[in-house]
């Protein structure tokens, strides 16, 4: 029988958030790329929460955009509500979150894929990797078709040997009843890839018409919209927003859950996978925080043209009857109708310690991976890995060095370094507390940090780059100017200061010094700064933050300098840890397993102590002397 055989530069397996970014990046860098999905209706699917961004995830989306990825642009086109979170806190933790119209999000991304040059979108299940002598050669699909490729990116999400569970019900499907991928796991094992089994879960979707919103608190979007993409201005994307609603569980809810715990597949031991501690099911919350009398629930629209609402905060795998009973104890949900049941999903993923920081498998050349397949959780975490995997798969094809972002450059760098370096036994979720250099890695300056890199890679075109350079110049010039604008202690100045609750001037000051006062900022001093040229909001924001927090930023930059010294101490590939005297056995095992790229990375491996690092550095120095 004749089989179909095609040739590509890059094959991407899976068209979720990771796969889409990977395929777009590779195609945009000029590689002939094909992306496989089990269903054309599940491209960039949001099978769980209906929002993009949020605490630290918003940072990831802005970084993806700054590098030339698609997620930020796609959500800007399809959001139905936008909010900057944590505004009462410092600028490091401000996080943008948008509610998405799920269908629109998915369709818009599919449209983008289908209209990108060098990119083919194909519905088929990939069942086998073709590997020869440790080098990837292509993939085989269920029909037997062979797709030859120079590099392959795996982004299978939660589909590998997936099964969905609630109560006694088990469906051998991927999320949302979609076909699972049941063959690829075996092919991975045959090629020596170590697999983990993780689980996650999602709440029920309910009918809007069965909800009593009158007893809930309405959650509005922001009036001032901050776009995710640096290519958009507020006026480009401003639109009418749709509200979310806040309500709470209560003790009756918790009692029903406790009484039925034995019917939960997780507590009954049917599920073997490890779930995310940071995104617990309602059963977990009730058990782990037994003293809490209520938990917040957000009722969020799934889109503009659907009556489905998402019950945020109440994911579960309890049986259908218990789901009805518990949801109906919630204020406003007394008569709720469920459209889709809550469920837990279990799937195969890999131990990401098998990857290099470029997201290429150490033992299979040319094979890259990203997203939940790598043991992460969340759309944004997936997308940013997909982007990096796609870029590096393309660069490998083009004979270029991989792009690796470090922990001082981006949350993306923190995420990938954590995955590849540390032990990870549950779906990995991004959090601001994971980043050491938070004050530098803000969501507002992602373009300052990463757009030059995106341009160099080739995903940011010259037009966008020129705009970026102009913005940068405006910021620098204005900061310099403010240092030299002297303000006298005249009546207008004193009155303004007084009205802003600030101390009056004794003698002169510069505008820069005034901006540094906690109660003042760049914006509010406009009346005493007549020479000021009008600047865009995002430019003004950079000026303000850079001046106000100059001292802190400088000190954090010094920390980064120290950090870089350790990162720049590269460990030779040929190192034999057995030869390093005085290294503890545990450290030897861990170092062999992770194979760190630098001493800095080695120091972050759990089980490798500071004294092991000292020993390693002395050994490396001795080796250097010997040469």
């Amino acid at each position: 029988m004749k089989t179909v055989e095609e040739y590509y530069d890059v094959v991407v397996v899976g068209a979720g958030h990771a796969g889409c970014e990977a395929a777009l990046a590779a195609a945009r860098l000029g590689c002939e790329t094909i992306i496989f999905t089990v269903s054309m209706n599940s491209v960039a699917l949001m099978p769980c929460n209906p929002n993009i961004g949020g605490s630290s995830k918003g940072h990831l989306v802005k970084e993806i955009d700054a590098l030339g990825g698609e997620m930020g642009k796609n959500i800007d086109k399809t959001y139905i509500q936008s909010k900057m979170l944590n505004k009462s806190k410092g600028p490091a933790v401000h996080s943008l979150r948008a509610q998405a119209d799920k269908d629109a999000y998915s369709m818009t991304m599919r449209y983008t894929l289908q209209n990108t040059d060098h990119l083919t979108l194909r519905q088929a299940e990939v069942t086998e990797l073709i590997v020869e002598d440790g080098v990837i050669k292509g993939v085989k699909t269920f029909s037997g078709a062979i797709y030859h490729a120079k590099t392959v990116v795996l982004a299978t999400g939660t589909y590998l040997k997936a099964r969905c569970l609630y109560g006694e019900v088990v469906n051998y499907t991927g999320p949302n009843g979609l076909q699972a991928a049941n063959y690829l796991s075996q092919s991975l094992k045959d090629n020596g890839v170590e697999l983990y089994r993780f689980k996650t879960g999602t709440p029920a979707r309910i009918d809007k018409r069965s909800v009593n919103f009158d007893v809930m608190e309405e959650q509005f979007g922001d009036e001032k919209i901050v776009p995710f993409s640096f290519t958009n201005k507020e006026e480009d994307i401003k639109r009418e927003q749709i509200s979310c609603w806040l309500t709470y569980t209560n003790e009756e809810t918790h009692k029903i859950i406790r009484d039925n715990l034995d019917r939960s597949p997780i507590y009954a031991g049917v599920i073997e996978g490890t779930g995310p501690r940071y995104c617990p099911s309602i059963e977990d919350k009730v058990v782990r925080f037994a003293d809490r009398k209520r938990h917040q629930l957000f009722i969020e629209p799934e889109g503009e043209f659907t009556n489905e609402m998402y019950v945020g905060g109440m994911s579960s795998s309890l049986p259908e009857d218990v789901q009805y009973a518990m949801y109906r104890t919630v204020k406003g949900l007394e008569n709720v109708k469920i459209i889709r049941n809550a469920y837990a999903i279990e799937y195969d993923c890999i131990n990401p310690n098998q990857l290099k920081l470029s997201l290429e498998f150490r033992n299979i050349q040319g094979l890259f991976s990203g997203g939940q397949f790598n043991g992460s959780s969340g759309y944004e975490e997936a997308a940013c890995q997909g982007l990096i995997a796609g870029i590096n798969a393309a660069r490998k094809r083009l004979g270029k060095d991989p792009v690796i972002l470090d922990r001082s450059q981006a949350y993306i760098g923190v995420l990938i370094d954590d995955l590849v370096t540390k032990e990870n036994h549950e779906p990995y979720r991004m959090m601001t507390s994971r980043a050491e250099y938070r004050l530098l890695l803000r969501q507002d300056n992602a373009d300052m940090r990463l757009t030059p890199i995106g341009h160099e890679i080739g995903l940011i075109d010259d037009e966008r780059y020129d705009k970026f350079l102009l913005k940068k110049e405006q910021i620098e010039k204005e900061i310099e100017r403010l240092k030299h604008v002297n303000i006298g202690a005249n009546k207008t100045v004193q009155e303004l200061l007084e009205s802003l609750g600030s101390t009056k001037l004794n003698s002169g000051s510069t505008l820069e010094e005034l901006i540094k006062r906690p109660e003042l900022n760049y914006e509010c001093l406009a009346p005493i700064d007549p020479d000021r040229e009008p600047l865009d909001d995002d430019v003004a924001e950079q000026i303000n933050i850079n001046i106000k927090y100059e001292g802190y930023i400088k000190r954090q930059l010094q920390q980064v300098e120290q950090f870089k010294k350790m990162e720049n101490k590269l460990i030779p590939d040929t190192i034999n840890y057995d030869e390093v005297h005085n290294l503890r056995t545990e450290a030897v095992q861990k170092l062999k397993a992770v194979h760190p790229h630098s001493v800095g990375q080695a120091s972050r491996i759990s089980g490798v102590s500071p004294s092991d690092i000292s020993v390693l550095m002395i050994y490396m120095e001795q080796m250097r002397h010997r040469k």
């Binding site: 806190k89 410092g90 490091a92 933790v93 050491e436 938070r438 004050l439 906690p518 927090y549 802190y552 000190r555 954090q556 920390q559 120290q562 010294k565 350790m566 101490k569 001493v599 120091s603 500071p610 004294s611 690092i613 000292s614 550095m617 002395i618 490396m620 120095e621 001795q622 002397h625 010997r626």
Partner: protein
């Protein structure tokens, strides 16, 4: 250095004698100062020769200090050498330990250490109760920790969000970590190579 858990900061001084040599006289002056501030004097005498006037002068100078007299070169001490141990009695009290040792062969060193510990543990050495920082690196780390903690204090007082003062808190933590070995700085290997020859 540490002997059986006792941390000692030992200063090897120049011999004390009258000299016209400028450089040497600086050393002598320094030695005299060290005698003033030391908790314990280890007076090393050469038993292969007679007690000199300079020795006597030193004994007089350290009359009121806690001390151990170490009679070195016990291996060479013979009657002919003319060293009269009894002559020391005039200058030292009865409790002052006098121990014969041979630095060359290690004889008597055990006795010396035993005596040292006795004096320490029985409170016969009046050790300054203040905490001593014996390592310049540690001193530097502590100074920087202090500086950073002051920054933290100022930030908290100014009502800054935690992401700001954690910068300085981390700095303080890292510096303290250097002392107890919880953090490692990149120049560690250089530091070690500058102090020791670790061979090739």
């Amino acid at each position: 250095m540490t002997i059986d858990g006792i941390t000692l900061n030992i200063v090897d001084t120049a011999g004390i004698r009258d000299t016209e040599d400028k450089v040497e006289s600086i050393g002598v002056e320094r030695a005299k100062k060290e005698i003033e501030s030391a908790d314990l004097i280890l007076f090393l005498m050469d038993t292969s020769v007679q007690i000199s006037e300079e020795d006597i002068e030193i004994l007089q100078r350290i009359r009121d200090k806690k001390k151990i007299i170490l009679l070195n070169k016990s291996d060479k001490a013979t009657e002919e050498s003319g060293f009269e141990q009894s002559a020391l009695k005039e200058y030292i009290s009865e409790e002052t330990p006098v121990i014969s040792i041979s630095a060359k062969y290690g004889d008597g060193i055990d006795n010396f250490i035993m005596e040292l510990k006795n004096m320490m543990f029985h409170g016969r050495i009046d050790v300054n109760q203040e905490v001593y920082i014996t390592n310049a690196r540690h001193k530097d780390a502590l100074a920087k920790t202090y500086e950073s903690l002051e920054c933290v204090e100022r930030s908290i007082e100014a009502g800054m969000p935690e992401d700001f003062f954690t910068i300085d808190l981390m700095n303080a933590y890292e510096k303290l970590g250097l002392i107890i070995g919880e953090s490692v700085e990149e120049d560690l290997a250089n530091e070690i190579f500058s102090k020791f020859c670790t061979g090739k």
